[in-house]
């Protein structure tokens, strides 16, 4: 630890203005603040003491909350491959997990390298500190794409969303749309053939380092939502809750997501108001469509399938892009649930609606807030004129 401190102290003159490696200032700064809590003390005219919480801690807790879903996602990738090849009976747990790990890891690496690379460059250019927001986006992105997404597509999509959805607005805290969902939306609309539900995208099809199986190209495994869009009801809701169904890498297991959700709610990083109202909105709308006979799925199926849980727990609750007023969070969450189920049932093109619902409500969040802030403003204005 002391050696590390000494190392940073030694290289500091080199990265300062005019130093040999000034171009790497943001990189060194980033690593130094990760190794040590900054020793900077508060200035005159400010609070002299501070709470120990900072955005690094908040972001790392979101990443920790994502770990159960990620690990299960890796296992499920292997499970689906072996299931498709019909060799599940001969495979051990380690085979399945290791295969999934090897399939998912390159995506995580690509996402982080591209995204953080851009963040470092922008931070250097603006002369600011690295912002931690991409730590979360970088792990979210591989979890919400199909396992067969080519790495080059992922790289382009990540670059697109980090630059155009985040940095041009001013970085973490200023963006309107959730960068991870913009990545997915970019892939979804630019490369529909690798992103749509009834094709052969959801199950890894090739061996990796001798692990896994080559599945014939003609094999197709639709997600339960894809099947529901064609009129097939869900038969195995037990597996849907456990998560052993085809789907995007991190979204399938309700249990793993729930573990993360509990951590987020307990630490207060995610708002329970948003999360709860997404489920309420989805359940009520699902119930409505169920009673009208428009969907083969029951209201509870709507909640456990596809990206509903994942979106409700990790995406809708993003504090930056969601509504910021406390009452607004109820409306914002509720409408996400409503729109997500509505897109699923009423739109013939897309079997899944969570991504579109959250992006749409990201756009409307400032409007919802506006109404509540304006009511406070009106109250004050009225008070002034009464006398």
């Amino acid at each position: 630890m002391k050696a590390l401190r000494k190392f940073f102290d030694n290289i500091k003159p080199n990265i300062a203005e005019g130093g040999k490696f000034h171009a790497f200032r943001s990189l060194v700064d980033g690593f130094e603040t990760f190794a040590f809590v900054p020793n900077q003390t508060s200035r005159v005219g400010c609070v002299n003491i501070h709470d120990a919480i900072d955005s690094k801690r908040i972001m790392s807790f979101v990443v920790i909350a994502l770990v159960p879903a990620l690990l299960f996602g890796m296992y499920n990738v292997g499970y689906q491959n072996y299931l498709a090849a019909g060799t599940l009976a001969n495979a051990t747990f380690c085979d399945l997990f290791l295969y999934g790990l090897l399939a998912v890891l390159p995506k995580i690496i690509v996402s982080y390298v591209v995204g953080l690379g851009i963040e470092f460059v922008v931070a250097q250019w603006k002369g600011e500190e690295i912002q931690e927001g991409f730590l979360v986006s970088g792990i979210l992105i591989p979890m919400i794409v199909p396992v067969n997404t080519p790495l080059w597509m992922l790289a382009i999509a990540v670059a697109f969303s980090v630059i155009l959805a985040k940095e041009i607005f001013g970085g973490t805290g200023m963006n309107i749309f959730n960068p991870a969902l913009i990545t997915r939306a970019f892939l979804f609309f630019s490369y529909p053939s690798v992103m749509t539900g009834d094709d052969n995208v959801w199950v890894a099809q090739n061996t990796i380092f001798g692990l896994g199986n080559n599945v014939p190209d003609t094999y197709t495994a639709a997600t339960p939502l894809g099947e529901a869009a064609l009129g097939t009801p869900l038969t195995d809701s037990f597996n849907a809750i456990i998560g052993l169904i085809p789907g995007a890498i991190g979204e399938t297991s309700v249990i793993a997501i729930a573990l993360g959700g509990i951590l987020l709610l307990w630490t207060g990083v995610a708002s329970w108001k948003t999360m709860l109202s997404v489920f309420v909105g989805g359940a009520l709308t699902g119930l409505l469509f169920q009673s009208l006979g428009m969907s083969p799925l029951t209201w509870s199926d709507q909640l456990i399938l596809g990206g509903f849980c994942f979106g409700a727990v990790f995406m809708a609750t993003d504090p930056v892009t969601s509504a910021r007023t406390e009452c607004g969070k109820y409306i914002y969450g509720f409408l996400i649930g409503v729109v997500a189920v509505m897109v699923r049932v009423m739109n013939p093109g897309y079997p899944e609606g969570m991504m579109l619902a959250i992006l749409l409500m990201n756009l409307f969040a400032p409007l919802i807030d506006y109404c509540f802030v304006q009511s406070n403003i009106n109250k004050r204005a009225k008070r002034a004129t009464i006398k």
């Binding site: 809590v37 020793n39 609070v47 501070h50 955005s55 801690r57 790392s60 805290g173 406390e326 406070n376």
Partner: protein, 443 residues
């Protein structure tokens, strides 16, 4: 029976080194100083020269815009230094105290306001909007006095009041001749001089910090609209007014709390405004350590040194470690059991409210844009959207600041919000600058 107002929002932080209720004697002679910067918003004009003899209560400087508002010497003696900084900015006026203290005696007048201006006690009025020294031309709609401090390590006013009950009541009665007086009392205070004070409306506030801030009390009882002015006065200064009313003399002696984790025996001491701090800190701190001595409260006070002087509004001196060489490893993920946080990602919620924490002056993070929502509102017990107001100030949108209620706030009201902020924004400085700009625009 007084109205009880229950506040839910806010946060009490349990800091180590609370002052025990015992008053020690400190040495009095030496140099005293009046610092014009303590009186926010005043343009000082010096009316004495070095070498002049002054009595306690003689003016040292006046406000250029309102020369009738005087700022007086706390002691009698000779003016030893008129200290100026860059561009001849007046930094302090120092008075070398004489052996025996002589007081200027003021004639009692019916016009309380004129008497207060003449005697220098008007300088202890602050006004909302802008949180500056009050303008004597205004007609305030109310005067607010908060009889308790809710910030951590702050002075217990009920203890400081002991023995001054009649002066306090005389002060309140005098203020009530200017405008209606509202006295904010804490639910734990029992002294009848507070709970059944006369000539004022007593309201009881029950809740965590910042319930003791007058801003919070104004917002709940008599919110300020555009064009209205409310004056506020510290409870200690009300005793000064009462002393003036009963004896005709200006005596700015107050009971100051010396508190903080780095103070050897935290206690109270009687000190004059402008008294040198080393008279109080002698033997109480370890000078070899890197310490932060704060003139005022840890939440709102200003960093000073042991060569500093007791601020005009300071009711406590807090001493904490500076912490600039802490080198804490991997703080973003380490459990940090001994570190306090109101956030559940740390373990301080497990260790109960009785555990006392040592804080150093580190920011403990990097400054970011506002990321989390609702962080400020959780500890901001006013009917104002704090986050939106801060954003309006940052972008300089004056119309929106007005609409969102900037006239009702002072920097100190944002102290707890700044403490809990995970984005580490300097809220008090932002609000201070916003108020200054607004005041200039409206002038």
């Amino acid at each position: 029976m007084a109205k009880v107002i229950k506040l839910r929002k806010g946060l009490d932080v349990n800091l180590k080194g609370k002052a025990i209720l015992e008053t020690t004697q400190v040495k009095c002679p030496g140099e005293y100083a009046l610092i014009p910067d303590d009186f926010t918003g005043v343009k000082p004009k010096v009316v004495v020269k070095e070498g002049d003899a002054v009595l306690a209560g003689d003016a040292l400087f006046v406000d250029k815009l309102h020369p009738e508002v005087k700022f007086v010497s706390p002691v009698s003696g000779t003016v030893s230094l008129v200290e100026r900084g860059e561009r001849r900015k007046l930094l302090s006026i120092r008075v070398q105290a004489s052996e025996t203290q002589e007081y200027r005696v003021f004639d009692q007048k019916d016009d309380v306001k004129a008497l207060l201006m003449e005697s220098g006690l008007f300088a202890f009025f602050r006004q909302r909007p802008y949180d500056v020294v009050a303008n004597p031309e205004d007609k305030p709609k109310a005067i607010f006095v908060s009889a308790f401090n809710s910030m951590p390590l702050s002075q217990d006013f009920e203890y400081a009041l002991k023995g001054y009950e009649t002066e306090f009541q005389a002060g309140i009665s005098a203020l009530s001749k200017i405008a209606k007086v509202y006295l904010g009392v804490n639910n734990k205070q029992t002294n009848p001089a507070l709970t059944v004070a006369k000539d004022c409306e007593v309201n009881i506030f029950d809740g965590p910090a910042p319930a003791g801030n007058v801003g919070v009390q104004i917002n709940h009882l008599c919110p300020i609209n555009k064009g209205e002015v409310v004056w506020t006065m510290g409870a200690e200064a009300v005793i000064f007014v009462g002393t003036l009313m009963t004896t005709g003399k200006v005596n700015m002696t107050r009971t100051v709390a010396l508190a903080g984790s780095e103070v050897k025996s935290p206690c109270y001491a009687k000190m004059l405004v402008g008294q040198k701090l080393n008279t109080l800190l002698e033997g109480q701190i370890d000078k070899s350590k890197s310490l932060r001595i704060i003139n005022g409260n840890v939440m709102t006070g200003v960093k000073t040194s042991s060569e500093g002087f007791l601020g005009a509004y300071s009711t406590e001196i807090n001493v904490i470690p500076e912490g600039d060489h802490a080198d804490e490893f991997m703080g973003w993920i380490a459990p940090r059991f001994n570190t306090y946080s109101s956030h559940r990602s740390y373990f301080s919620w497990l260790l109960g409210k009785k555990k006392e924490y040592t804080f150093d002056a580190r920011i403990k993070g990097g400054e970011r844009h506002m990321i989390m929502s609702g962080e400020y509102d959780r500890v901001f017990p006013m009917d104002i959207f704090a986050g939106y107001l801060v954003k309006a100030i940052i972008v300089g949108d004056i119309d929106r600041q007005e609409a969102l209620g900037i006239y009702e706030v002072a920097p100190e009201d944002f102290a707890i919000a700044e403490f809990v902020d995970s984005s580490k924004l300097e809220l008090q400085r932002i609000v201070r600058e916003g108020l200054d700009i607004l005041r200039k625009e409206n002038a």
